[in-house]
């Protein structure tokens, strides 16, 4: 097995292991911090597969923004430093089964769709910013635009929801 293959296995094991810790640890903030490890290991997998651009976007968006937002929300609500009891839901068996089935379906779909495809990781152009930009803005431009409209709609919706409460508060002083 090549060095890259070995590193990939290691990163994959790290991602799965820390993901398990995210849902089993008894401290809420530790969950968020293990999530950082999971997302980082996933970025490492992308990097090893030659998808440089996706890897750094993963770090920038998920570790730099989403986890910070999560930690902020946790600090605002309740996050004692000690062990918390009752964090794990009573539905854990059902949840684990659902997660397992969803994972199985995803793996099946990916294997059925791309099982025979081979992409040489040594080619530098595979996951570079140039090839990503070309693909998104030429071939996939319509889905990209639809997604951006969806995000804009969500943004407007969030503003309307948060402002609606404020204005009704003003009406009844």
């Amino acid at each position: 097995m090549s060095v890259v293959g070995l590193l990939f296995l290691l990163m994959g094991a790290m991602a799965v292991g820390s993901a398990l810790l995210v849902v089993t640890t008894a401290r809420l903030v530790h969950s968020a911090l293990w999530l950082v490890v999971t997302l980082g290991a996933l970025a490492g997998c992308y990097l090893l597969l030659g998808a440089e651009f996706v890897a750094w976007v993963q770090i920038l968006i998920y570790v730099g923004a989403v986890v910070v937002l999560l930690l902020f929300a946790l600090m605002l609500t309740r996050a004692p430093t000690g062990v918390q009891t009752g964090l794990t839901t009573g539905n854990r068996v059902v949840a684990a089964a659902t997660a397992g089935v969803v994972g199985l379906v995803l793996v099946t779909v990916v294997v059925a769709g791309f099982g025979g495809a081979r992409v040489s990781v040594d080619e530098e152009s595979v996951g570079s910013a140039t090839s990503m930009g070309d693909a998104i803005f030429r071939h996939w431009v319509l889905p990209f635009e639809v997604l951006s409209v969806l995000l804009l709609a969500a943004l407007v919706g969030a503003i309307v929801l948060s402002r609606g409460r404020a204005s009704s508060g003003e009406e009844t002083p």
Binding site: V29, I59, G64, A65, V67, V68, M75
Partner: protein, 319 residues
């Protein structure tokens, strides 16, 4: 083999820069602040203008007992200073200071730098939470609120020179830079610098650590070497911000005799920007929470978007 040796040499040089430049900035801050505030500061250690005071401070930090509060979350508490500092070391690897003078040339250097810099925040948040101290927690929350507000204008402003240069490579951006960029990229430059200051929690954006009300916020419970690591991270952050401002907006190594003296131009520009950071600490009062948020969302974000529109328009105009 020769390649590996060259890479090792480059990385050792980057490590050297990481160990020397932040200390230089720290020493400059001591001296420049003292003169700007018409006081002398420590003048005796080592003889000439108290140059050895920094070393004495280092020895003092190393001697102090390493205290972990009983209620703190030990592992996270101990890990936090490293998480705060290491990203800046990693970022320095990708910043070019001369033609070919770079730790490791990356095609998407800009993305790499922005992504890794974002990780450093986690160290401060971890410190704020794990200390089990209400001042620290308040500081941590202020850090998170401030960073969420300023990350957006920071990244938007950094995109503008990349669009103008049509590359994400930091060396490529410097090579494409022309003096007139100083004028039409000026709004982006201001937004980038101000948002960068806020990301570093430097005055006037030091509300999260506000020593007079929060007793140093997330770092209240830290002593000795771990506290020194946070200080070092702050100075390393100044170096990284100054270097990025230089590379993205000030033309890096470009200047007269750039072929021979390029690295000197880079270092000079970095030094001037770092000096400006120190100057602002002395000259500008701390912003309140509401002022912080208003500045970010109502001034910096619109200016950054305007700069992006301008850059696109000029880009399309030039074909």
């Amino acid at each position: 083999m020769a390649d590996a040796l060259e890479l090792a040499l480059r990385l050792v040089l980057v490590l050297g820069a990481f160990l020397v430049l932040p200390l230089l900035v720290g020493q400059t801050e001591h001296k420049v602040m003292a003169h700007m505030q018409s006081r002398v500061g420590p003048m005796y250690a080592g003889g000439f203008h108290g140059w050895a005071q920094l070393i004495a401070d280092g020895v003092k930090f190393a001697q102090k007992e390493d205290v972990v509060p009983a209620a703190a979350d030990g592992a996270v508490f101990r890990l936090a200073p490293a998480v705060a500092m290491v990203p800046y070391l990693v970022v320095l690897v990708a910043i070019p200071i001369g033609p070919g003078l770079v730790g490791q040339e990356l095609d998407i250097g800009l993305f790499f730098v922005l992504a890794v810099m974002g990780v450093g925040v986690l160290g401060t948040l971890m410190a704020g939470w794990a200390s089990a101290n209400k001042y620290s927690l308040l500081g941590g929350m202020r850090v998170a609120a401030q960073l969420m507000a300023y990350e957006l204008p920071f990244v938007l402003a950094a995109v503008s020179p990349a669009m103008a240069a049509r590359t994400l490579s930091l060396s490529g951006i410097v090579e494409a830079w022309e003096p007139w960029w100083l004028i039409w990229q000026l709004p982006g430059l201001v937004v980038f610098f101000v948002a960068g200051l806020a990301e570093l929690q430097r005055p006037p954006f030091d509300m999260p650590v506000a020593d007079s009300e929060l007793v140093f916020g997330p770092y209240t419970e830290y002593t000795g070497l771990r506290f020194a690591l946070f200080l070092l991270a702050e100075y390393a952050g100044i170096v990284v911000l100054a270097a990025l401002t230089t590379v993205l907006f000030l033309g890096g190594w470009q200047g007269p005799f750039a072929d021979q003296l390029g690295w000197l131009w880079s270092l000079t520009k970095i030094g001037v920007v770092a000096l400006l950071v120190v100057w602002l600490r002395v000259a500008v009062p701390r912003l309140r929470a509401d002022q912080l948020q208003r500045l970010a969302w109502q001034a910096l974000v619109p200016i950054a978007l305007f700069q992006l529109a301008l850059t696109s328009a000029v880009g399309v105009w030039n074909g």
